[in-house]
């Protein structure tokens, strides 16, 4: 039997994304590259990311990574957006190396969101 292309984390995050959707009245950014699209929407309170939601068009690894990222940053400080845990995402979700570019699009979205919230 050939290996399942998705580990359990990808399956769980893809199947039940708790952070899918948008934040009403929140700041929204869109990254569109490498044939995928990621939209992030954030609500801010007291310098913290009180809510972070995503919408995405792409493969299961990208959608799972978007959910992973929202869960990772939500509730933390805006400044945390400056650091993107690329290696951890690749490892936790066992992202195939040929999909690295798609995760970088997600990183672009996070950085874009960080810049927009700084202003």
């Amino acid at each position: 039997m050939s290996a399942d292309p998705y580990n359990q984390a990808v399956r769980d995050l893809f199947t039940s994304p708790a952070h899918a959707g948008g934040v009403a009245g929140g700041k929204t950014v869109l990254a569109d590259d490498q044939g995928v699209r990621v939209e992030l929407s954030a609500g801010v309170a007291g310098g913290q990311l009180s809510a972070l939601r995503f919408r995405a068009w792409g493969c299961p690894h990208l959608l799972a990574a978007a959910e992973w990222v929202c869960s990772h940053y939500e509730g933390g400080p805006i400044g945390a957006l400056e650091k993107f845990p690329n290696a951890r995402i690749m490892e936790d979700l066992a992202v195939p190396v040929e999909k690295t570019g798609r995760i970088l699009v997600l990183e672009d979205a996070i950085q874009s969101l960080g810049r927009s919230l700084d202003h």
């Binding site: 998705y6 399956r11 893809f14 994304p17 899918a20 959707g21 948008g22 009403a24 869109l30 995928v36 699209r37 990621v38 939209e39 919408r55 995405a56 068009w57 792409g58 493969c59 299961p60 959608l63």
Partner: protein, 385 residues
């Protein structure tokens, strides 16, 4: 693994229990090499001869015209490479379609490197090849043509009788890849102008690893071997024959001959239920010919990513593109050749139903497909919260 619903019968089928019984019986009874001249070897030869009669009965041909192979890929290779080379002294122009299976296109590409001149014919947007288009592709030096009976991705059925008639008129050796057609459609080769026909057991409820090539018994219809190493099968395809698998393919043919009409009716019903269950989804299109082989329904839907669609549809076991291509995640070259955009081809799902498929299976599949499309659209940027 959770309980699944198998809707990938165009990729492979379960082995019919009567076929399993026959293979087990032969495997337990006779371990001899059919080339051996002792009693057990002669018995193995007789088993193989009986299987040839059964397969010949399905196709209405002389058993002597059948060559056992390991499957359709080998049969295609033998027919195309062997046939084109046999005719090469008369001309090196050979013809096929862009939408053929890789087992065909890769051999044509190999022959092009050997110096053959290949014409790749385009299908129309429905995937069909008109006799006029085919005739226009033939030249005075055309010696060989290969066209598949039923397309493995779309189910499109070509007019083999009309295309073969043109080949006979122009003295072109005509090969048909029948992997998706044999045992599923009524085929009477005594009345079809086909020189070479490839088939495999596992596409019609037989075992994997066994197939055959039909080589018509008529002047100018021969192929050169592509394997060497023994005198079996008139040196055309040397190698020790697997008696149990051959017997299994014979029984597969016998069973199929009694099921073709009822299977077709069953598949038509299932395909219609499935299509009716999804046809009103916004942006959904049927790829290929609505009147094609009823065991296959290939659909695309706008703005949906194919890999995510496949995962969202679990526990359905279906195919994106063809099974042979599905690990590459590249858009299907067959669907691109029909004029689909990369996006449409990438979102294509091939449902293929079979004898064991039930009405409940396809109703569930239609619902699952609808839900998956709706969920992924909801997840996409621009969706309304």
């Amino acid at each position: 693994m959770a309980e699944t619903i198998y809707l990938d019968y165009a990729a492979s089928t379960p082995v019919d229990v009567r076929v399993l019984d026959r293979m087990r019986e032969v495997a337990e009874r006779n371990c001899a090499n059919p080339s051996s001249t002792h009693a057990a070897g002669r018995e193995a030869q007789a088993i193989i001869a009986d299987a040839a009669v059964q397969l010949a009965g399905l196709l209405n041909v002389d058993p002597q015209t059948l060559v056992w192979t390991s499957g359709a890929t080998e049969s295609d290779n033998l027919a195309i490479a062997g046939g084109a080379r046999y005719r090469a002294h008369r001309g090196k122009h050979i013809v096929t379609m862009k939408t053929e299976h890789k087992a065909v296109t890769d051999v044509f590409e190999m022959l092009a490197k050997e110096g053959f001149d290949v014409t790749w014919i385009e299908a129309d947007t429905g995937g069909r090849l008109s006799p006029e288009t085919f005739a226009a592709a033939l030249r005075d030096d055309t010696q060989f043509a290969s066209i598949m009976f039923v397309n493995n991705e779309t189910g499109v059925i070509q007019d083999i009788e009309a295309l073969g008639t043109i080949c006979r008129e122009r003295d072109v050796l005509f090969h048909v890849d029948g992997a998706q057609a044999v045992g599923k459609l009524p085929i009477d080769l005594s009345n079809l102008p086909v020189d070479l026909l490839s088939l495999t057991g596992h596409k019609f409820y037989g075992p994997k690893g066994i197939g055959a090539l039909y080589v018509a018994d008529r002047p100018g219809c021969r192929v050169e071997p592509i394997l060497f190493g023994g005198g079996q099968q008139g040196r055309l395809r040397p190698g020790t024959l697997p008696t149990d698998l051959v017997a299994g393919l014979g029984m597969t043919a016998k069973v199929a001959s009694t099921h073709i009409e009822s299977d077709l009716e069953h598949l038509r019903d299932l395909r219609q239920i499935l299509w009716n269950g999804i046809r009103d989804i916004e942006g959904v299109i049927l790829n290929g010919d609505p009147d094609g082989f009823p065991g296959i329904l290939n659909v695309s839907v706008a703005d949906i990513e194919g890999e995510s669609l496949l995962l969202a549809m679990e526990p359905l076991l279906v195919a994106t593109g063809s099974a042979c291509n599905s690990r590459t995640q590249e858009p299907s070259y067959v669907l691109r050749a029909l004029g689909l955009s990369d996006s449409q081809a990438q979102s294509a799902i091939r449902f293929s139903v079979g004898r064991p498929t039930t009405r409940d299976d396809v109703e569930f599949a239609a619902g699952r497909y609808r839900d998956a499309v709706a969920r992924l659209r909801e997840l996409a940027p621009g969706a309304v919260a």
